[in-house]
């Protein structure tokens, strides 16, 4: 009795702390949004020579999380992967939460957000960016339709015939969704890769790299959520987490092989401009982003833990490490492509004494982090509302026990 009371008090204290942290993040982020609306991008550190920064990296990170989580759900419905069925609705909710986060992030990055609708009114379909906006829109509609049908299918009292119809609908929607999501996840890579002026980006491997990256980060995020927030801690849940951990391990290794190809080929004979950019990533001023955040915390530690352990808690921790540190991969894809002058000496040709916008040095400002924090707080709020409105994203105990059968 005393232990139970202590546990409840402890849980209540932790909840209060989390709430306080959320309120703090929301206030800091809200002030950032006010600054953005009132004064534009003036407080950001990106410039005319490094025109994309933290927000673009965050946008591809969140959209990747969404694509990865969605692919798990769609594959479950399309290929009838019974063992993953209990987490299909959760996957869709994660996808539905992280996508608006990415879109909000890229929205504030635009110089004229109020004109964003022009992409629908007067699109230029030769532009990869126009394709992305159209694909995102189609995906958004499909995703929310799937979430709605999937939640409807588990409503108490729904007759078996209707449930069968719901599952058939989900299968069709999933079938449409898989190529759509492969298209937009790879398409984000193509958005960068098609820019011939930037040698670091201009690689046919980029779209594949982005697609595998989306799957890796999305699945890792899902695994961490299942490991930590799943309501019933039974044997079936444990088996599910172990399976997800194995999938994450395989994806991290595939991602690493692609990364090895991306880095080793241009560097092998130590000549060429891409080699210089790779040296910048590995040994430049932000070397720790690659070696410590990405390679150590995002690859080595999780791979070792995932290969050895069967503990759901540790699998969750490893997956969370993969998911969170994947942001470093996104940063290392966007920024290094922009940090060298296309013409030697351009950086000293003319300077900007007021805003320092004609420089190739970039370090995200507090304002940029502030807005990212705001977007995270927004995502947490969406998650909170989503799980309260639709508690069926987590299966009922009877469904949960079906796992692994």
């Amino acid at each position: 009795m005393a232990f139970s009371s202590l546990g409840t008090t402890h849980r209540a204290g932790r909840e209060r702390l989390l709430w306080a942290l959320w309120v703090l993040a929301a206030i800091i982020g809200g002030l950032g949004f006010y600054e953005r609306l009132a004064h534009g991008d003036k407080a950001a550190d990106f410039s005319s020579y490094v025109p994309w920064g933290l927000w673009v990296a965050a946008y591809i990170y969140f959209s990747g999380l969404s694509a990865g989580a969605f692919l798990v759900a769609a594959a479950t419905y399309v290929f009838r992967i019974r063992v993953l069925e209990p987490i299909s609705r959760l996957s869709l909710l994660i996808a539905a939460v992280t996508l608006p986060m990415g879109l909000l992030m890229i929205g504030v990055d635009l110089g004229h957000l109020e004109r964003a609708y022009l992409v629908f009114v007067r699109p230029q379909f030769h532009s990869m960016m126009a394709w992305m906006v159209w694909l995102y829109t189609a995906y958004l509609i499909l995703l929310f339709t799937m979430l709605w049908v999937s939640l409807k299918s588990v409503q108490p009292g729904r007759n078996p015939g209707a449930v069968t119809n719901d599952l058939a609908t989900l299968r069709v929607l999933g079938l449409i969704g898989i190529p759509l999501v492969i298209g937009f996840a790879g398409g984000v890579g193509a958005l960068f890769a098609t820019v011939a002026a930037r040698e670091y980006w201009h690689s046919p491997l980029f779209p594949i790299f982005f697609l595998v990256g989306a799957l890796t980060s999305g699945t890792a995020f899902l695994t961490a959520v299942v490991s930590w927030l799943w309501p019933s801690r039974d044997a079936a849940w444990k088996e599910l987490v172990i399976l997800l951990g194995r999938i994450v391990l395989a994806l991290v290794l595939i991602e690493f092989i692609l990364e090895w190809a991306e880095f080793s080929i241009p560097s092998w004979y130590q000549i060429g401009s891409t080699y210089d950019l790779i040296r910048y990533v590995l040994f430049g001023p932000y070397w720790y982003v690659f070696w410590l955040v990405h390679l150590l915390a995002g690859v080595l530690v999780p791979v070792l833990l995932l290969a050895k352990t069967r503990s759901p808690g540790i699998i969750g921790l490893s997956a969370a490490l993969v998911a969170v540190t994947f942001f470093a991969v996104r940063l290392n894809l966007v920024i290094p492509g922009l940090i060298t002058p296309e013409l030697r000496g351009l950086e000293q040709a003319y300077s900007d004494p007021i805003g320092n916008r004609l420089t190739f040095a970039y370090m995200p400002s507090w304002f940029e982090w502030q807005l990212l924090l705001g977007v995270i707080a927004f995502g947490v709020a969406l998650w909170f509302v989503g799980t309260r409105l639709f508690p069926h994203v987590f299966p009922r105990p009877s469904q949960s026990s079906e796992v692994g059968q």
Partner: protein, 231 residues
Amino acid sequence: MSKPIEQRRWGMVIDTRKCVGCHSCNVGCIMENKLPPGVVYRPVIDLEVGSYPNVNRKFLPRPCMQCDNPPCVPVCPVKATWKRTDGVVVIDYNVCIGCRYCITACPYQARTFDFGQNWSNNAASGRDGGLALETGRKYEQEPSFEYGATWRRGDGVIPKSPVGNARKCTFCVHRLEHSQLPMCVTTCIGRATVFGDLNEPGTLVSQQVIRNNAVSLKAELGTAPKVVYLI
């Protein structure tokens, strides 16, 4: 100028041997277009080459190359930038969404972003701070006449274009319409910059672009610049 626009093809030749690195082309451009801090159309790259005692300085003014095959145009998601029939690549400030994709796509980094900063922002400091502030404000209130329109700077929730837009050299099309040369050509003290219609066989610019010592920057990319350097 009596010819229809589609029969003109504007080009520029910059003789690097005549350029003394005085930056007057850049200053003239800034004044003509009322460019704010951080926006530059024609920086002059100043390179020191060699090692002592064999050293030299090279100057390379870098306007927009007005490519015949401009990589900045097809990336725009809303068709806010295009190549005119006379070959000048332009931006519709009232359509540009400020995504900066075109800035990443230009291999000459000839586009800059207008963050909305003004010269008077940090001017009120130092011995003559008050005077600098007053002058800066006066300058900022002057409109720019790019593309033949009147652009005044704005701020706020919805930034007034060209704030929040990508910007670039236009070969001063607003001056060309009135039979005036681009400002950078006018202000060049060494007559290092020659400008004219590449479709007119007799013009100086047409004769110079075919010289043996005429080169284009990054010709291997296939962008076909209409700015050529004599080396």
